[in-house]
């Protein structure tokens, strides 16, 4: 079994108009910048995919990565917890102009909904958001005398994920807090596409230390020296990047 693909274009092939795409990362940590840029390249060349529903904790920063995806006009709706950043101008302007929809989800509920999607749990109850505007229209029920809000799973057609090491089976490790939503999104997507800094041989990853078992991963592409979103933004980069 070999889930590795040769290049980024092959990795993001199959993502079509209107699909739901989960994108890993918390701010810049764990953001699969190169996969996102490959998707933008395809859009620039073909006009597709567009009308995407994107799930991410944030809404992009500056003019690279997720912000560039939004700026390109490829995203119809964003499902996130915190659409603010050091430089949130791209999302902010499009949102205030009514050009992009927003579903705001508390961060823990977002994580749990994604995990539920991956784990076959169609709905669960959480105390989070009870009594707030974000619970409006949602089913509320008491357990042991305390009120809880019912939330539905989140699933995706594709997930774009950044990992540290991958083997040909798709077993993954991450780097520090770049882990964040990435393992959950692998679980919740029909096709999890992973950019890994290092592809190693089967058996080279300690089976005790594998964070995402390969069953949750469909495609892996090596990106040996990935960009860090924070570094790009500190350099005021925009996409397409200058060579």
């Amino acid at each position: 079994m070999d889930k590795t693909v040769a290049d980024l274009a092959t990795a993001v092939a199959g993502i079509e108009d209107g699909m739901t795409v989960m994108i890993g990362g918390f701010g810049g940590a764990g953001a699969p910048i190169e996969l996102i840029h490959a998707l933008i390249d395809r859009f620039r060349a073909t006009g597709h995919p567009k009308g995407l529903i994107v799930v991410n904790n944030n809404a992009g920063n500056g003019h690279i990565g997720l912000a560039a995806l939004i700026e390109a006009g490829m995203v119809a709706k964003l499902i996130c917890s915190f659409p603010r950043s050091a430089d949130p101008v791209v999302f902010t302007e499009m949102y205030l102009a009514g050009k992009i929809d927003l579903e705001l989800v508390p961060q823990g509920t977002l994580a749990e909904r994604i995990r539920a999607g991956g784990a076959g749990i169609p709905a669960f109850y959480t105390p989070t958001s009870y009594g707030t505007d974000l619970a409006k229209g949602k089913h509320v029920e008491e357990f042991d005398g305390r009120p809880y809000v019912r939330e539905r799973w989140l699933k995706a057609d594709y997930a774009l994920v950044k990992a540290e090491s991958a083997d040909p089976y798709g077993n993954l490790t991450y780097r520090a807090a770049a882990r964040n939503f990435n393992p959950l999104m692998c679980m919740a997507a029909r096709v999890a596409v992973v950019q890994a800094s290092r592809i190693v041989a089967a058996g080279d990853l300690d089976p005790e230390g594998i964070v995402t078992p390969g069953i949750f991963v469909q495609k892996v592409v090596q990106v040996a020296n990935p960009h860090q979103e924070e570094d790009l933004n500190r350099a005021h980069a925009t996409y397409p990047l200058e060579a």
């Binding site: 079994m1 991956g118 078992p213 069953i215």
Partner: protein
């Protein structure tokens, strides 16, 4: 009546496992399926207790009792093995990440209902992961003798024993035939060349539909 051995039933079921498939085999008889993977195809086996991509049993005396399968038998690790906890393991099951689960059965109904966990109110009930597996894998298949030890049909209109799952089985590999479940009916796909459709019907507790050609079920001695 000629019939396939358990090994032969397992062999037949193994032929339908695609290269690269993620597979869970129920404890006991279904574990045999792993022995008959067709050459050139690689199946990745999952066990509920937290191992993906494990290898065959170790030689006697070389067991590591922390490396066991759901039946508590010793297995081995190999390049690409991953360990994880029980909630992640059943996320794999319930979340639809397994391509196929192959299970044993007391009874299978034409509705796809499966009874394989309890023979009734006597004794100590035990369910394990069976009820999760039937609702998780993309394809749930059963391997079984076509009839009980007493010669009674195991393929029925409705199950009489406590159910494991409702409408979950899509293919049954028996000692006599390969039967799909479609639209709440048994559809005969393959049968031993030596027995007639009528004979097969006579040991089956619900009508066998024969909408198309029935292939010969030919299995090597294994």
């Amino acid at each position: 009546m000629q019939k396939l051995s358990n090994n032969q039933i397992a062999w037949r079921a193994a032929q339908d496992i695609a290269d690269g498939a993620y597979v869970n085999l129920g404890i006991g008889f279904p574990e045999k399926v792993a022995q008959f993977q067709p050459p050139g195809r690689e199946a990745i086996f999952h066990t509920e207790n937290g191992i993906l991509n494990f290898g065959e049993a170790p030689p006697a005396g070389q067991e590591d009792w922390d490396v066991i399968n759901a039946g508590k038998k010793a297995v081995t690790i190999k390049p690409g093995t991953a360990f994880f906890h029980h909630a992640d393991s059943f996320a794999m099951v319930r979340g639809g990440h397994l391509d196929v689960a192959i299970l044993g059965a007391y009874e299978v109904a034409e509705t796809g209902d499966l009874a394989n966990w309890s023979t009734g109110p006597k004794g100590v009930p035990a369910v394990g992961g069976a009820m999760d597996l039937v609702h998780g894998a993309k394809r749930v298949a059963v391997i079984t003798d076509h009839v009980t030890k007493d010669g009674k049909p195991k393929l029925l209109k409705r199950c009489t024993l406590p159910l494991t799952g409702v409408g979950c089985v899509t293919r049954v590999y028996t000692s006599l035939a390969v039967i799909d479940i479609e639209g709440g009916r048994f559809v005969l796909r393959e049968k031993l060349p030596s027995i007639s459709v009528e004979d097969l019907q006579s040991v089956t507790g619900a009508e066998l539909l024969v909408p198309g050609p029935v292939a010969d079920l030919i299995v090597p001695e294994v």
